[in-house]
Amino acid sequence: MSLRGRPSYSALGLLSHGLRRQRWPEVLRDPQQKSRYDVVIVGGGIHGLATAYYLAARHGVTRVAVVEQAYIGSGSTGRNTAIARSNYLTPQGVAFYQHSLDLWYAMASDLNFNVMFEPRGHLTLGHDDGALRTLRWRAEVNRTLGIDSEMLTPQECRKLVPLLDISNEPAHPVIGGLWHPPGGTMRHDAVVWAYARAATALGVDVLQQTRVDAIELTGDRVSGVVTTRGRIETNMVVNCTAGWSSLVSALVGLELPITTVPLQAAVSEPVRPFLNTVLASSNLHVYIYQTARGEIVIGGAVDPFPSYSMRGSLEFIEEVAAHILELVPALTHLRILRQWSGICDMTPDAAPIMGRSPVDGFVLNVGWGTYGMKAGPAAGEAVAALIATQDVPPLIEPFGLSRFADGRQVNEKGAAAVGY
């Protein structure tokens, strides 16, 4: 099956093309920046690309540009640990993330691209009563919305992870766990390419190595964008820049309730398969899973100070290593291959900001903190619907910017990351 005349990648197609030794046509052409677009999306990560794709695919809005300062997926989308789940705290959060999870399950087939989504389940361990209470709260909210989550005893946790230490030896023994079977992982780069290819095939211009330097207002309405390639006339700009959200919003004089904080991650050498699920610990602020290649992906809590720097630190490795060994002592000799960092736009309630802003024509798809990758599909779909139909989809209505002034926060701290 080919996407609008593009070559298909069937086995027969690969074989015949290989034998003919021709160059593959470029799927992501580098288009000229046009002088006018109906929608300019700032940021070429999953949120920007998904918003562009759904505008074109669901609403026929194709005069769209995605303006990305570096290469697509170079920001947080290429730096996260690629986990999708819906075991959140609030009914609003759970409904939203579950819808996104539904889109993840269908994505490879919808976008005709192997995003390597693996529904491997998500286990969060608790080591004190407070943690267990929060985990149980999440399980119950999930269950009232018909989502599979349940509390496990330490023994049941060890059935899922045979190498898990559930003895009283560690400083913080495991006393229970939240088991969420629908959770899974994906290959983040593949997702970027899937959305970019699909959007491009529908006529969207993806402009890489192009930075937005100014956003023009006429009165209090957006009237244009100035990029490093020149001026674009437009009345709709969407901020999908995650860690850089405040800087882009400053271009229209808008301050956001966002703090940019680095989040680090690391990956180990490949080892024999021993871990079939994502293993997280609330109290120990660490989570791991094993990729199809056998490597252990490691994540933890955000850095303890705001920064736009994307450098790893020795403190991070020392801390996560110590906590991983409390959970799985067999990993003592595991060697770390590399570590990296990305920047996260943290909000006061660990919930995102989607919807209109006080500036007419400036739409927000930001505040994704440490929980944005899993949300990209649902956020892109909803923000695209908002732009195309002018109606706020009920799924994202609780996440508007006005909630901070109104005192209607959606408190997802405790479920959004392992850092709290």
């Binding site: 703090t259 940019t260 100070f305 736009y308 720097s309 450098r311 002034a405």
Partner: protein, 86 residues
Amino acid sequence: MLSIPCPNCGPRAQLEFAYMGAADRTRPQTDDIASWRRYLYFHPNSAGWTAEHWLHVAGCGGLIRIERERSTNESRAVDGCREAAR
């Protein structure tokens, strides 16, 4: 490794300090809720040189004021005095 120039102890590793927030924030003088929500939640989140407070928990215990460039994490001392949080 981020280095913080403590006026009492000299440049020390960031690990010894606790970040205490951006400096020069003025609390609202009224008890109007809208002003307080604005103060608590909204801020510049700038990428350049920003004045900040750090507490030297593993050192002298002093609350110090420095300036840090938030893209490179370079930091510099701006005054040699301990400063009470306002």
